[in-house]
Amino acid sequence: MRRFSRKLYFKVAAAIAVGAAIIAALSSFAFYFGEVTRIEERARADIHQLVKTVEKTATIAVYVQDQELAKEIITGLMMNDLVAAVELMSIAGFSLDSGSGSLLNLDHVEKIKLFHPFNETEQIGELKLLADEVFINHNAKGSAVNQAQMLALLTVTTALLVSLIVHQTLTSPLNEITDKFEEVEPGKDIEIKVPRFHHGDEIGSLAKGINRLISSLNRSIESERDMREKTEVLEKKFRLIFEQASAGICLIDGNNLLVTANPAFQNILLKTHSISDAIGLKLTDWFHEQEQLEEFLLKIRHDHNLDTVALDLKLKTQANSRDCWVHCLFSKVMDSDKESGLIIEVLMYDVTERTEREVSTRFEADHDALTHLKNRRAGERLLRSLFNRASENSEMAVILNIDLDKFKAVNDIHGHEAGDSVLVEVGKRLMSLFRNDDICIRWGGDEFVVGCYFDTSRLEDRGEAAIASLGEKLVKTMSQHFSLSDDVTIEMGASVGISVYPQHGRDLERLLTVADLAMYQSKQAGRNQYSIYQPELPAQNLS
């Protein structure tokens, strides 16, 4: 309910009352002054007539100097309420007044000159008459106030009548509608009754219009509610999928900043970066090869044929923590216009364990478990590809066949464990001596093979010297003593045979065979030295 003073019919009545009061005040005011002026003028006219009435008699009284007659005249005039004072003056002699003294210098005095009755040019006296202003004013004001009051009463009555009519025909029915309207609640059917006698007019159509509006509103609210319930169920399901998914899910915007992410995603991040709230941060910051990833994302956004791409990526990790690998699926999110939006959905699985397992499996498959050098099977494959590479580039490759000297004795004297230690030591020495892309292989037992790429095509130019230098270095490295423990030192040494691709052969078997020959040559020559295969060596030595 509204406060009384805010109700419409009160406002209308108040407006009319205020208007009426102003009009009444103004018109009464104007009327009052008009009336006062009118009545005063009327009084003056009366006084003038009064003077004219007694003029003749006064003339005669002055003419014959008859004071009795003059007094009669003055007394007669004074009987009139309008007259305050009278003075009758004869130039020849007397001057009579009504007792209030001379009126010579007063304002508003009605004066009339009295002339000789038989000689119109000779002035013989003067009649002065002072109007009773107080009486006139009082009269005038009384009358004017009366009139003004009547006018005001009339105006107020009219105003009351108008506001009553307005209330009956307009605000009261409106009030009914408003009160009913305030009870209206969305979704509840309420019919507003059309006020009596208003079926055809604007109030009637207002009520009908409101009814129509309410029912259409209710219908749309109902359908809205249904839709919302369905949406809620769907949303619940989707939320469950999103929240409970084992895969990390996130959306990134055009600047690769995280828009949203599910708990699984946050968990993956928490493992590697200790970030508990990743929203708003940059996705690519967390990966190795950040720049490539950014370029790749840019490509996805602008390439219409590229919608979903899978990548295995390595997350950057904090110091002293494990590597973390993730399998990522990047998909463009299409907006309603079917144009590729800037948003990209990222699905992320933690594949660290799998990757690590794969890596270690691959390592175990290719490497010798003891020395961590390549095993023979991997070594053969690698050497072949080394030769292919040399062949493609018209360069050389060098095969070094290394056989430890007196290794059997180490096993016999110090035991197999010591022998293993020596083999491990050999692996370390080889790996420290050769470059990363040189291939160091444990061929079997105490036999090792190393394959090196030489970027000079002609053995005669510089290659022979370089190979000789390499052979010398190798022999020197291998011949250093090995401290098995504080008090046990083992003397080591190796015989090395060297063959060169393509000068000594074009296939692996041939090159290994000739390197073996060269190695035997070294053994025969007294061990702990290297030999480069000489093609002119006698053929009988080949076997």
Binding site: I60, V64, E68, L69, E72, F118
Partner: protein, 141 residues
């Protein structure tokens, strides 16, 4: 020319037409020698009761309905006798001023004037006799 002749004839006839003149007279023994018209008016209309020289005046009038009286007031104040009577009627109320004493006939009036030095009255010029003094003469009718 003929018109002029007629006019001249009329003019020559005038003195005979103005046979009767109105005269204001006093007794021969009065100290008053002559009066102006205004002074005559003031005396006959009751303004003053004395002559200008201070002598008390006794004003005589003719009886009503006299032809001479009508003429006199017509000439003096341009009023009819009835108007003059009405004038006096107003003044009678206060009792201070009294109208002139009326003589029954011109002869009686002349007799009254002759009897007292203070009397004043009017007569037709035809009635002018010994013992009277003309103090004002109405010039033309």
């Amino acid at each position: 020319m003929k018109c002029l002749m007629v006019l001249l004839t009329l003019i020559s006839l005038l003195p005979t037409v103005v046979a009767e003149e109105l005269l204001v007279v006093v007794s021969e023994s009065s100290r008053v020698e002559s009066l102006t018209k205004g002074e005559v008016v003031d005396l006959f209309m009751g303004r003053y009761v004395t002559f200008p020289n201070g002598d008390k005046a006794k004003v005589f009038d003719l009886a009503s309905k006299s032809r001479t009286k009508g003429q006199f007031y017509k000439l003096l104040v341009n009023r009819t006798e009835a108007q003059v009577n009405a004038y006096w009627a107003r003044l009678l109320f206060s009792g201070r001023s009294v109208p002139p004493e009326e003589a029954d006939s011109p002869e009686a009036l002349i007799t009254q004037i002759k009897q007292t030095d203070l009397a004043i009255g009017y007569i037709s010029s035809q009635d002018l006799t010994e013992g009277l003094k003309v103090v004002y003469r109405f010039e033309a009718f």
